[in-house]
């Protein structure tokens, strides 16, 4: 194992051959061959592992994150180029290979473990980074809305600044002029007084000899030239011509196709199958029993699929084979009851004495909420291409976690991780689903049985029925208010605590809180679903605060404003959404307005939804106004797109999203019975950003948690009906409309 030190992080060294290296991990005499592979042509100077400068003065940013459509490549390259004062028209990017050299953890070690001081601007994120990185040890994960917040702030910007600093020093030494008189702009350093200038590339050899600053100075926001602008995204042109290559599109010479059917009941095994007819089918290469799944390999996907569709397979009956959704929910409810009865409380947060305070309350509000399982339904169904040859394994897939893919492959095959190559492709949607390695493992087990490359493609049905699901939950909430309507006690018992750990916290100042949870067993596999626990907690807490406001006979906005008065960021976001949504302005009959606010992944998002409930009981969301404080939006247009995306994703779940278990298996199979939001159902979305100067927050997830409560609060406003169970389509709203019309 190489030693990683802070010196190596923003340190520098001259490699054998005289190449200059700044930054992470590479020390003289210890040059990693994998990093060497990134140097495309002779004469290119590696400035550090995060950027390189070619003789033609182009700067290439090396970016350790997969592109899922969040524009991460563009945003991270902008952060680096801005600090460096590079010519944006000559900046390129390269996605880093799945090597440990790029893992988030290594960055962290340099900073935190190296006992270093760090630039003020990023100080506040160190704790968050530490947690994230420890969890993702050895994983180059794109998720947790982390790219810009962590890699961008802590690697790209510092690398850019360090590079600029040594180039400036090199110019100063060469020209014997004070460094303060130099100007860096558009990849050129100039000295106006003596009328001298040189390109970055020209200065690179001299820069190699310069002492590295231990702490390069980062720009302040007023000095930004690229950060905060919306440069056209690198990834977009190929996505309108059909050239963009996703995992699904990989073509390897000699490749065959496979498809798979896993046992419908999670955890069950294949009991028997009858391959007598099928194996002689035209085009069929092999039929495999993988233990818990059956796969067919054929010349084409269609042959594999049609063969598998009619293959007689029997799966074993398990203790879960007769289990239905209601029984799962009953189990959850029973677990909550017995935990309460036995005083078996896993406490999430406790303050004061809620039990006593409830006795003193003038008004009690109590409610039980229920949320369903949810599938991810990424647009691109799961797939993976694998080829085992010469003791090596090659994998083509779109993954949020390419290092995890490598590790998983090495483990199954019992080979060294260096024998595994991952060719990461564009992701047709991630949302947390593509940080799993289940599909990759299947592809490897299939490819192991043949000597040619195999592309495993899941049908949409398989994708819907073998996801890792957002947890179904029930939650019990209780609040006590005093005579004036001020909350004096709050209790919440919820089910399942995953992450992030703070998700069940409320931003409201209420004394006497007891928040605790139960963890009943379920055979349904769980996975990260866009915004993780915030996706449930946002709905629960923001619906219930609305119930409290109603019980207190106060306006939903004013109530929130009052209870967050000590939090200036919340106050600003609330004020902005109030103003932009025209809160309080009259609406047509059967229309309603609802508000919700939550902080997640470092960003605070408030949304106001305007809905109409039709005579037929149908809910139409007309408009969503979103106000967000992400600290600083590096790429505003990309950030806005992420807000829009998170809102539509959360809206689909709120309106109709529901996975139910019947006889132990998922009942839904495709978009006809797991419907998602379509264009005619999509609201107009208006996003307003506050650059508060706080440490940058995430963009990919934080708009999702608040859309469901904003909509259900609006339905309450329109109809007086409080929706406590999602999806909304489960509630018949017709009666309410007849009453009011």
């Amino acid at each position: 194992m190489k030693k990683w030190t802070r010196r190596a992080f923003i340190g520098a060294g001259v490699l054998a051959g005289g190449t200059l290296v700044i930054g992470i991990a590479i020390r003289p005499g210890n040059r990693s061959s994998k990093v060497a592979g990134l140097i495309a042509s002779e004469g290119e100077t590696v400035m550090n592992v995060w950027l390189k400068i070619a003789p033609d003065n182009t700067v290439t940013a090396i970016i350790p994150h997969a592109e899922m459509g969040q524009g991460v490549h563009t945003a991270l390259a902008m952060m680096l180029a801005d600090e460096m004062d590079a010519d944006w028209s000559k900046v390129k990017f390269q996605e880093a290979p799945a090597d440990k050299e790029y893992a988030n953890f290594t960055l962290l070690k340099g900073f935190v473990a190296g006992n270093a001081t760090f630039p003020k601007f990023i100080e506040g994120t160190i704790d968050g980074v530490f947690l994230t990185a420890v969890k993702s040890l050895n994983f180059q994960i794109t998720g947790g809305s982390a790219s810009v917040r962590f890699t961008g702030q802590q690697a790209m910007r510092i690398a850019g600044a360090a590079a600029k600093s040594i180039l400036m020093q090199a110019a100063s030494d060469t020209w014997k002029v004070p460094i303060e008189e130099l100007i860096a702009k558009n990849s050129i350093i100039s000295h106006p007084r003596s009328n001298r200038s040189a390109t970055f590339a020209e200065l690179a050899p001299a820069a190699a000899k310069v002492n590295i600053p231990t702490q390069p100075k980062l720009k302040s926001p007023e000095e930004f030239t690229l950060m905060g602008t919306s440069q056209p995204r690198f990834d977009i042109p190929a996505k309108v011509t059909g050239e963009a290559q996703f995992g699904m599109d990989v073509q390897v010479p000699g490749m065959k196709y496979a498809t798979i059917k896993a046992s419908p009941v999670f955890g069950s095994k294949v009991k028997s199958m009858d391959t007598t007819v099928s194996s002689s089918q035209q085009g069929v290469k092999k039929i495999l029993n993988l233990g818990d799944a059956v796969a067919v390999i054929a010349d084409s996907f269609w042959q594999a699929k049609t063969t598998l569709d009619v293959l007689p397979i029997e799966f074993e009956t398990t203790e879960n084979s007769g289990l239905n959704q209601e029984e799962i929910i009953d189990r959850y409810r029973n677990a909550m009851d017995s935990d309460l009865a036995e005083g078996n409380l896993d406490t999430h947060f406790k303050d004061g004495d809620a039990t006593t305070a409830f006795e003193e309350a003038a008004i009690l509000v109590e409610a039980e909420y229920q949320l369903p399982f949810l599938a991810h339904a990424t647009m691109e169904p799961m797939n993976c291409t694998a080829w085992l040859h010469d003791g090596k394994c090659e994998i083509w897939c779109g993954s949020q976690n390419p290092l995890g893919v490598r590790a998983a492959a090495a483990e199954i095959l019992e080979i060294d991780i260096d024998q595994v190559t991952v060719h990461n492709q564009l992701l047709g949607g991630g949302f947390g689903r593509r940080s799993e390695t289940d599909v990759i493992k299947q592809a490897i087990l299939i490819a192991k049985e043949v000597d040619f490359p195999v592309k495993l493609i899941w049908s949409r049905e398989e994708d819907t029925q073998h996801d890792v699901y957002r947890e179904a939950t029930i939650s019990r909430m209780k609040a006590g208010l005093d005579q004036s309507g001020l909350p004096i006690a709050y209790a919440h018992q919820f089910i399942f605590k995953h992450h992030p750990p703070e998700a069940a916290d409320i931003p409201y100042s209420i004394p006497n809180q007891l928040i605790h949870y139960s963890s009943p067993a379920s055979h349904v596999p769980w996975g990260n679903w866009r915004s993780v626990d915030h996706s449930t907690q946002g709905f629960l807490t923001e619906s219930f605060i609305d119930e409290m406001a109603h019980a207190a006979k106060q306006d939903s906005f004013a109530f929130r404003k009052k209870l967050t008065r000590d939090n200036s960021r919340f106050q600003r976001v609330l004020d902005l959404v109030y103003e932009k949504s025209n809160w309080g302005a009259p609406l047509p009959a059967n229309w309603g307005r609802g508000i919700a606010i939550a902080q997640s992944f470092g960003s605070i998002v408030a949304e106001v939804a305007e809905v109409e409930v039709g005579i037929d009981g149908k809910v139409k969301v007309h408009r969503v106004v979103c106000a967000v404080d992400p600290g600083f939006a590096i790429h505003p247009n990309g950030f806005i797109a992420q807000m829009e995306s998170g809102i539509i994703y959360g809206l689909a779940a709120a309106m109709t999203g529901e996975i139910t278990i019947e006889n132990g298996a998922v009942a839904q199979s495709n978009f006809h019975n797991y419907p998602v939001t379509r264009m005619n159902e999509a609201p107009k979305i208006e996003t307003h950003i506050i650059n508060s100067g706080n440490p940058p927050g995430g963009g990919g997830e934080p708009s999702t948690p608040v859309i469901a409560p904003a909509v259900t609060n609006a339905i309450f406003d329109a109809t007086g009906i409080r929706i406590r169970q999602l999806p909304i389509s489960k509630t018949d709203l017709r009666a309410s409309i007849r009453q009011t019309t």
Partner: protein, 158 residues
């Protein structure tokens, strides 16, 4: 052997009974811009044009396309290395997010604008609701269609 005309070029393919056009286009012709999303005409990711009409290639038998002009995303630009007005509008509006649905979206939009060069919001909704975008870029798709529509008007009045 079946003969298919895709983007003006002839392909000899092996199209057994029942195989959908989608898989022949992707696997045998190597044109992977047309995507698989659902396989049951629910998502629109596989949209191509048959004699100018948009169809879901995942449920269109390949043999039924024999003798027709098949157009895929790779073939809608007027010439090589140029873009269709709709593709340009898509870039200007920075429409794609993950991008997986966008070939299908663009094929549906081109078909819509061929029929109706200046569609209203409602007409766009009606024409585009068969195309799912899980990244939720509906607002941008709609703006891009309006932009393309405006560009079409100005290019035809030149």
């Amino acid at each position: 052997m079946t003969s298919l005309t895709i983007n003006g070029k002839e392909y000899k393919v092996d199209a057994p009974e029942g195989i959908p056009l989608l898989w022949v286009i992707r696997e045998q012709c190597g044109l992977t811009g047309t995507k698989f999303g659902c396989g049951i005409a629910q998502c629109g990711a596989c949209t191509v044009h048959l004699d100018g009409q948009p169809v879901r290639s995942c449920v269109t038998p390949a043999i039924s396309a024999e003798g027709k002009n098949i157009t895929t995303i790779e073939g809608i630009a007027p010439e090589k290395n140029t873009l269709h007005i709709v593709q340009e509008a898509w870039i200007e509006e920075q429409t794609p997010q993950c991008g997986y649905c966008q070939s299908g979206q663009i094929m549906s939009a081109v078909a819509l604008l061929n029929e109706n060069p200046s569609p209203s919001d409602e007409e766009i909704d009606a024409a585009m609701s068969g195309n799912i975008c899980r990244c939720g870029m509906y607002g941008r798709i709609k703006s891009a269609i309006h932009r393309a529509s405006a560009a079409l008007q100005s290019s035809s009045t030149l």
